[in-house]
Point group: none
Chain length 126, copies 2
DNA sequence: TGCATATTCAACCATATGGTTGAGCTTGCA
DNA sequence: TGCAAGCTCAACCATATGGTTGAATATGCA
């Protein structure tokens, strides 16, 4: 599903990482959806239980869950008549990588000791 | 920045950066804006130069730059009749911290990031 | 002074987004 | 068998978003 981190040499096929990021970031842009993700961090939940704390219709929550599913941020699995929602944190990785790339250019606040450690353990990190 | 009391349904999380996250994530959700950020990673640029590679009016780019500024992702400074745009990567920190809460991600390898960025930038130019 | 450059503003348009309601489908169970 | 529970669908609505164009506002310079 999520191919954002695909680094295979199939680049000419034009796997669209850009669209994945569109979908993931816009999924994260809504506070209700971020709250849902936080809730699912605790435990898997049924749709009805996800909806319970919100002052919003079940249908609206159902839509939010579809958006999160489409972004690959959660997985939904139906068991009996209950649809369970499970966090899929891996989908955040591509977005996280993208963002941290900008962090590389932040001024580095290493003091001499940390600089020493960084140099000392450089091989371990490679 | 906005600091208010948290009101997420899932409980108390102390300081609420919810609206900040809304603004930052939705700023990042647009491929044109991400491409602009990538360009500014190279160097500071004037508005006209930012607009140059895009097949879109200058006014549209100007709007995108306002959105990035409002999100704190860039800073704009007018010198003479030229308005310079400068990356402000610190603004990504709160969003990054939020996302880190969802899982341990691999340490970022810069070369992987640059390939990722190059691919995405290529998509946007196409 | 007067014109070109750099950028934003204002009005407008099409589409996307986030919500509602009511009906409909599937499943569990008394 | 029949009803309640769990969830989605479809239609609708208001507002947000991302783009356009033409006019307006600064600023630099010959």
């Amino acid at each position: 599903m999520c191919v954002a981190l695909d680094r295979t040499p199939s680049g000419s096929y034009g796997i669209d990482m850009s669209t994945d990021l569109d979908i993931v970031f816009s999924a994260l842009a809504d506070p209700t959806r971020r709250a849902i993700l936080s809730m699912l961090l605790e435990d898997d939940m049924a749709v009805t239980d996800v909806a319970e704390p919100f002052e919003m219709s079940l249908a609206a929550i159902s839509k939010h869950l579809s958006i999160l599913t489409r972004a690959g941020l959660i997985q939904q699995e139906k068991r009996g008549r209950v649809k369970w929602c499970k966090l899929q944190p891996d989908a955040l990785r591509s977005a996280s990588v993208w963002m941290q790339g900008f962090g590389q250019f932040e001024p580095v606040h290493l003091d001499a000791f940390e600089r020493f450690l960084a140099a000392e353990f450089h091989d371990d990190q490679a």
